[in-house]
Amino acid sequence: MNNILNHIGIENYIFLSVILFCIGVFGVLYRRNAIIVFMSIEIMLNAVNLLFVAFSTYHQDAQGQVFVFFSMAVAAAEVAVGLAILVSIFRNLGSITIDNLKNLKG
């Protein structure tokens, strides 16, 4: 069986993942709409997942994929709860701009 990485190279996946991750970071910092911030977080998660899968192939080991599987489960749960929180914030404040959420101010 031919290893796909022979054609692509692990470093390309690394670059891809890193850039994707950084886009996520950038999004989190740049946007103030909580939904978009959430989406950026999803992008980061996917960047990591992607890398996992790439390395799983690289090491010829299924553990990485299992890990991605769990990570997806967690992501699903996180999104569900997170969005529920956003909805209740929206209900209370009428907006989901994160700058308004300053109740934790010292």
């Binding site: 970071v25 989190v28 910092l29 103030r32 994160i98 700058d99 959420l101 300053k102 109740n103 934790l104 101010k105 010292g106």
Partner: protein
């Protein structure tokens, strides 16, 4: 030996038992019974003393009784023990003897007071402590008595405790005594560390045989002990409490502040004569202090109008004379004067008490006069005592005072002059007192005049006994043939070699003293009988006599030098330092709070900032971990 121990315990504990009975059951016993119990307990002590006195000739080295270990110090231990030798027995004799008389007197004198049982309790306690002081076998047991009599003095001066001025006087007496006590303690410390003992007998051996004694520390020890004596025996600079102590009932003044407690300093110095003999510099200080005290107190006494104040200053003055004798190394003379002084001064105080009693508490001599007829016994006894104190020949005071002057003359002429002047003044003010009180017309209110009466026999009997003693007391040490000197030889070894001859000088000096005394009396007669002068009102006193009347403003000076600064310091500490320190401690809290308050501003709630810092931190940590590899 067992017998002696038991009798000694009876001697000590009888007054204490009296105290306990009066404290716990005094009120229910009733006034007379409590007075009788109080008196009896002292009489028992007196009898026990007589027992020891009769036996002392057979045991010249004295009796020592050790009861139990008391205090343990690393280099010595202090026993709780008694020492009954010539000196202590002599003191016991007049302490318990005069004590009994004064107890007897008090039964009548204090009969109107609702707290009479307390009065007797305190008196008994005083006798108990005085006995402890006298018969303690070491400095610390003596110190128990020393402080204990101070306590009783405090209690008795402030006996009428509703009056805050009396309480002030009591407090003053206690505190001034304590200044002296600190001196005494320091002296004990020095002796203890030098000789590893505070026991009189071993101390005597140690000091007299000390091969290379440290002169400096000896002097310091002697000086500090003398400061202790100054406090208790009211010498300059610690004498001001004694006149104020007259706030107490008159029997107290007679017993504590004339006859017994104030002689404790003389007792202590005589007890430690072997130490003081080694330090001539301290001896001269003692002599000078004594002479100056005698003179200063006598001058103040010249113009006082309160009958008890006159006697108080007279006491201070006489104590000064005794210290003069001590300073000159003539311990036996000082002891002699202590005894005669105890007789005549107790008599004078009790007499004045009788007068005050008759006048319902009046103490100002300007409101007296002409009491001779109304109170003949009081008058006669007081006259005898006055003659004795003035040094009129054949009365006891003549012999003792003359001895002091003699000693002073032989050592130092200026001291003799000072002492002589003080004696002349004494004669003057004593007869001023007599003339103002008993002669001329009565100057009080008519109500008082109506009630004038001679005091009951319980008061007059002690007066008569004391007057007799004041007359014949001189017999114990006649010039040239002194029983006292022989008796005290075991305590004062150098007496054995002393010569007692009476030459021309001595007779001339005696004559001068007698003439001086008579001159004093004469001046008083001229002024208060011939011219019929009555001292002016307080406001009208002016010039030097005003200064004398106000006691040289010594109290005011002490107030300004010590009391006020301490009170100022106290307020300053309380209001400034305490608040400052407190603020300093709170300051730590405030600083912490402030830091936290500033730090809180970073947490401004901006999630963007948090994330940015988070990213930076992440980068920093990751690069650090990477670079560290």
């Amino acid at each position: 030996m067992e017998m002696n121990t038991n009798i000694a315990l009876v001697l000590v504990l009888a007054p204490f038992l009296g105290f306990l009975i009066n404290v716990f059951f005094g009120k229910s016993l009733g006034k007379s019974l409590s007075g009788i119990i109080g008196t009896l307990s002292v009489v028992v002590s007196f009898i026990a003393t007589v027992y020891f006195f009769s036996g002392i000739a057979a045991q010249p080295e004295g009796i020592r009784i050790t009861l139990f270990d008391w205090i343990q110090i690393s280099n010595f231990k202090v026993d709780f023990g008694f020492q009954l030798d010539q000196l202590s027995i002599l003191w016991l004799l007049f302490v318990t003897g005069i004590g009994s008389l004064i107890h007897l007197y008090s039964i009548s004198y204090m009969h109107d007071d609702e707290n009479m049982h307390k009065f007797f309790a305190y008196l008994n306690l005083f006798i108990f402590f005085m006995i402890t002081l006298v018969i303690g076998s070491n400095l610390l047991v003596m110190f128990i008595g020393w402080e204990g009599v101070g306590l009783c003095s405090y209690l008795l001066i402030g006996f009428w405790h509703k009056n805050q001025e009396f309480n002030d006087a009591a407090k003053k007496a206690f505190i001034m005594n304590r200044i002296g006590d600190l001196g005494l303690l320091v002296g004990i410390f020095i002796l203890g560390s030098l000789f590893s003992t505070v026991d009189f007998t071993t101390l005597k051996t140690a000091i007299t045989t000390a091969p290379d004694y440290n002169d400096f520390w000896f002097s310091v020890a002697a000086l500090t002990l003398f400061i202790g004596a100054c406090g208790k025996s009211a010498q300059i600079p610690l004498y001001t409490w004694l006149p104020d102590a007259m706030a107490g009932p008159t029997p107290v003044s007679a017993l504590i502040h004339a006859a017994t407690m104030v002689t404790a300093g003389i007792f202590m110095i005589t007890r430690l004569n072997f130490l003081f003999d080694l330090v001539p510099s301290v001896q001269s200080i003692i002599a000078i202090v004594g002479a100056v005290t005698a003179l200063v107190a006598a001058t103040i006494g010249l113009v006082q109008n309160d009958i008890k104040k006159v006697l108080a200053y007279s006491t201070v003055s006489q104590l000064g004379l005794m210290f003069l004798a001590l300073g000159l190394g003539a311990y036996e003379v000082a002891v002699f004067h202590v005894i005669t002084h105890a007789f005549f001064k107790a008599c004078l105080f009790l007499g004045s008490g009788s007068v005050i009693h008759a006048l319902h508490g009046e103490q100002d001599m300007r409101n007296m006069g002409g009491l001779k007829k109304a109170m003949p016994i009081t008058f006669v006894t007081m006259l005898i005592a006055s003659l004795a104190i003035s040094g009129v020949p054949l009365f006891s005071g003549f012999f003792s005072k003359d001895e002091i002057l003699l000693v002073a003359f032989h050592h130092n002429i200026p001291l003799w002059v000072v002492a002589s002047v003080a004696s002349i003044m004494t004669a003057f003010y004593m007869f001023r007192l007599m003339f103002l009180t008993f002669f001329q017309e009565f100057r009080g209110t008519s109500a008082q005049k109506h009630h004038l009466h001679e005091s009951p026999s319980l008061i007059t009997i002690p007066l008569i006994v004391l007057a007799i003693l004041a007359t014949i007391g001189g017999l114990i040490s006649l010039p040239g043939n002194s029983w006292l000197n022989g008796y005290l030889t075991p305590i004062l070894p150098k007496l054995a070699n002393a010569e007692h001859h009476l030459g021309t000088t001595e007779y001339i000096l005696m004559a001068i003293a007698v003439v001086g005394g008579l001159v004093g009396i004469g001046i008083a007669y001229a002024k208060y009988i011939k011219q019929n002068t009555v001292p002016t009102e307080d406001a009208a006193i002016s010039g030097f006599s005003k200064m004398l009347y106000n006691k040289y403003y010594v109290d005011e000076c002490y107030d300004a030098i010590f009391v006020k600064p301490i009170n100022f310091l106290s307020r300053f500490f309380r209001d400034t330092i305490e608040t400052g320190l407190s603020a300093l401690v709170f300051g730590f809290g405030k600083v912490t709070n402030e830091i936290s308050y500033q730090g809180k501003k970073i947490q401004n709630g901006s999630i963007g900032l948090y994330l940015f810092v988070f990213v930076l931190g992440l980068c920093a940590i990751v690069s650090y971990l990477f670079l560290a590899q």
